[in-house]
């Protein structure tokens, strides 16, 4: 099986879906001539032409609105944001238009649109460009939210997102684009709403998504050297959550640590804790702990940034606490 990067996996997904369905188009800043700020759309302008690979002005609200209109007209637009930090400007179209369209038209107007781009912190991009938006977006009924961690999941989930008749948010990551992994050529479709156990274990469940999957796996390696078998559960989809996978794993391990890039208040982890305490109360041997970004704007200073982010060490410490080892 070929080993390719996360960015090329997304590129394959876009190309295959555009070949398969002439209604699929890509629009966003620098997606055409420049081939994408992160080169996700490399070669697509050449193959599909300027009518389907559309360079837009730096006007997120405007081109998101054009995307919503195109979807209302029967096309299947993929709207790329250079980062989700800029997509805040387009939230009116995402939240008030796209997410509500099917509901407020009494089911008459489907909204087959994908909004995608990198999410969360990279390195030293400071407070305004290092934010993780998944809890904001997952809050909205009418949206689906996926956050793939691997090239395989990126391809399979973006293809499913493009074929979905509802607005789907695809959260990528600047620090993920270069990651390599095995991805088969051709059709892979990963159903939206399915988590995946990335590593089997029986002592504690580490629940994660996107970039925090690699943090969780590193933590699991460190725990293994202490004879602790951690299970790593990658949520993959944040809305709808895979309740059964979460509860199944907690039933097995009786304890959980949730790790995410975002801030603690109202985070994805808070939602998962709610599910676990409600549906798995009698399975719990310890309070569920969370590892999140520190509750501050992301510092620019390199050392402070490192301290503010989740890390394998923080996950290991939390896992040991829920096992009553510290």
């Amino acid at each position: 099986m070929p080993t390719i990067t996360y960015r090329d996996a997304l590129n394959q997904a876009l190309r295959e879906e555009m070949q398969r369905d002439p209604n699929v188009l890509l629009m966003g800043e620098e997606v055409g001539l420049y081939q994408g700020a992160y080169k996700v759309s490399r070669g697509l302008l050449e193959e599909f032409g300027a009518k389907r690979i559309v360079d837009t002005p730096i006007a997120e609200l405007g081109f998101a609105g054009i995307g919503v209109g195109a979807a209302m007209g029967g096309l299947r637009p993929v709207v790329e944001f250079m980062t989700w930090n800029f997509a805040v400007l387009a939230l009116d179209q995402i939240v008030n238009a796209a997410a509500k369209m099917l509901y407020m038209s009494g089911g008459q107007i489907p909204m087959p649109i994908v909004f995608r781009g990198p999410n969360g912190a990279a390195l030293q991009l400071s407070s305004q460009h290092s934010q993780a938006w998944e809890s904001w977006l997952s809050h909205i009924p009418g949206l689906k939210v996926v956050a793939p961690a691997t090239p395989y999941d990126a391809k399979g989930l973006l293809k499913s997102a493009i074929r979905d008749n509802n607005p789907v948010i695809v959260l990528e990551g600047e620090m993920l684009y270069n990651n390599k992994g095995e991805v088969p050529e051709g059709e892979i479709l990963i159903p939206i709403g399915q988590a995946e156990v990335k590593r089997d274990g029986s002592h504690v469940t580490i629940i994660c998504h996107s970039k925090t999957v690699s943090i969780a796996l590193k933590a699991a390696d460190q725990l293994a050297s202490q004879d602790i078998a951690a299970e790593v559960l990658d949520l993959r989809t944040l809305r709808p959550l895979d309740d059964a996978a979460i509860l199944g794993s907690v039933a097995k391990t009786n304890r959980a640590v949730i790790v995410e890039e975002g801030w603690p208040q109202c985070g994805i982890g808070a939602q998962v804790v709610d599910l676990i305490q409600r549906e798995a109360f009698d399975q719990l041997d310890a309070p569920v702990l969370r590892v999140t970004q520190a509750d501050v704007p992301m510092p620019y200073n390199k050392q402070l940034e490192r301290l503010a982010k989740p890390s394998p060490e923080k996950v290991v410490a939390a896992a040991r606490r829920v096992l009553y080892l510290d």
Binding site: D282, L284, A286
Partner: protein, 418 residues
């Protein structure tokens, strides 16, 4: 910092323990989990293990002395660490610096710095065990309920003395084990029992009969069983086994009783005051006379074990029962009991039910006697058995149907395969 070693509750009902023998001498290095001493409880001789690493600095209790649960018996600390005075006996719950040790020591008045919210009057201080707030994880509470473990008697190893799963299971070496892992094995089918709420008629029967005959309203059913074929089968089996093992009449009785209970689940039950617990698995208690009393070790899942397994297990458990070496989980959790006084040539007797079980089978001696078969007087080996039933759980016809099945199985051993 030095750690006090306390007398632990090593059986569900233990209130004090006699230190039989020190396994570590003063100055010995000790590791968490290592045996420090042998302690005689009300039921057996158990091991008291270290809960800390270090050196045994002091033995406070002499061999042969009896001290209450919670009393300090030794001190573990760093080599050379000075132990100034004998520490005061600590409560059974290890006091964590973060949490109040016990109700009795909790401040009764609101601290001056606390908000002046209305404080409910403190309840009168009762003996610690009666009022102690049990801190336990939801999982530990569920497991304790399933296994019939009293959480008040379990030493919690979590924050503030919270009882967590490992305290009930002995998972991980470094933890307090009051009721070790195998207290009740996980059922094969996934569900251990079925709780059925009491119907009104059941409540009335329970109330009226208890008023008439004491807390457990017994009634008794006696039947005489023709043991000719079972005895022949036993002789043939033993001949075939040679020196591989020996099946006793009692082993056959245990197996048949277990199989009959599977068919008559209504008799394999516990009276639980506000409901009846029907067990899905059969765990037979086997009464064993010991020097100064009686104990009933439990053969788990008797119905699923072969005669040879039952035979070996019964013999092994009885042997250790007589040596008082049974662990608590080996004599608790039975769902029905069998008592056999056949070896004392008792023709017939009645057993007293071991609550919360709903029945006990009392087995008399097997003896040759003249009986009428097809109009002819012949000599047959016969045995009388009496079932004591808790009428709150088992009605006369229910018990009789069970006994009938049991009798059929013994009179025609192939019926056990049905």
């Amino acid at each position: 910092m030095a750690t006090n070693v306390v007398m632990e509750a090593l059986s569900p009902t233990m209130e004090e323990g006699r230190l039989v023998k020190w396994s570590k001498a003063v100055g010995d290095a000790v590791k968490t989990g290592e045996t420090l001493a042998e302690v005689e409880t009300d039921k057996a001789v158990m091991e008291l293990v270290a809960r800390a690493d270090g050196q045994l600095l002091k033995q406070i209790v002499a061999e042969g002395a009896t001290v209450p649960v919670g009393a300090t018996v030794a001190v573990i600390g760093a080599p050379g660490e000075k132990v100034d005075s004998v520490p005061a006996p600590a409560p059974a719950q290890p006091a964590s610096p973060k949490a109040p040790a016990a109700v009795g020591t909790r401040p009764l008045a609101t601290p001056a710095t606390a908000p002046a919210a209305p404080v409910p009057a403190p309840a009168p201080v009762a003996p610690a065990d009666a009022t102690r707030v049990v801190r336990a994880s939801p999982l530990a509470k569920r497991l304790a309920k399933e296994r019939g473990v009293d959480l008040k008697l379990v030493q919690g190893s979590g924050p503030g003395g919270r009882v967590v799963m490992r305290d009930l299971e002995g998972a991980g070496a470094a933890v307090a084990v009051a009721v070790p892992r195998s207290a009740v094995p996980q059922p094969v089918g996934g569900v251990a029992y079925r709780d059925v709420p009491l119907t009104q008629i059941r409540k009335t029967i329970a109330k009226r009969l208890a008023a008439s005959l004491g807390p457990v309203p017994h009634f008794f059913l006696t039947t005489e069983v023709d043991m000719e074929r079972a005895a022949d089968a036993r002789a043939a089996l033993n001949q075939q086994l040679g020196d591989q093992g020996k099946i006793s009449v009692n082993d056959i009785l245990l197996k048949a009783t277990a199989l009959a209970l599977v068919k008559h689940g209504a008799c394999n039950a516990w009276w639980q005051e506000d409901h009846i617990r029907y067990w899905n698995d059969v765990h037979l208690g086997v009464a064993v006379a010991v020097e100064d009393g009686l104990i009933t070790p439990v053969i788990r899942n008797t119905d699923r074990k072969s005669l040879l397994e039952i035979s070996a297990e019964a013999r092994e458990l009885a042997g250790r029962a007589r040596e008082r070496r049974l662990k608590p989980e080996e004599y608790t959790g039975s769902t029905f009991s069998v008592s056999n006084l056949g070896m004392f040539e008792i023709d017939q007797f009645t057993g007293v039910i071991n609550p919360p079980e709903a029945g006990i089978l009392a087995v008399g001696t097997m003896a040759a006697k003249p009986v009428a078969v097809d109009g002819q007087v012949v000599v047959r080996r016969r045995l009388r058995m009496t079932m004591s039933c808790d009428h709150r759980v088992i009605d006369g016809a229910t018990g009789a149907a069970f006994l009938k099945t049991l009798k059929q199985m013994l009179e025609n051993p192939l019926a056990m395969l049905l």
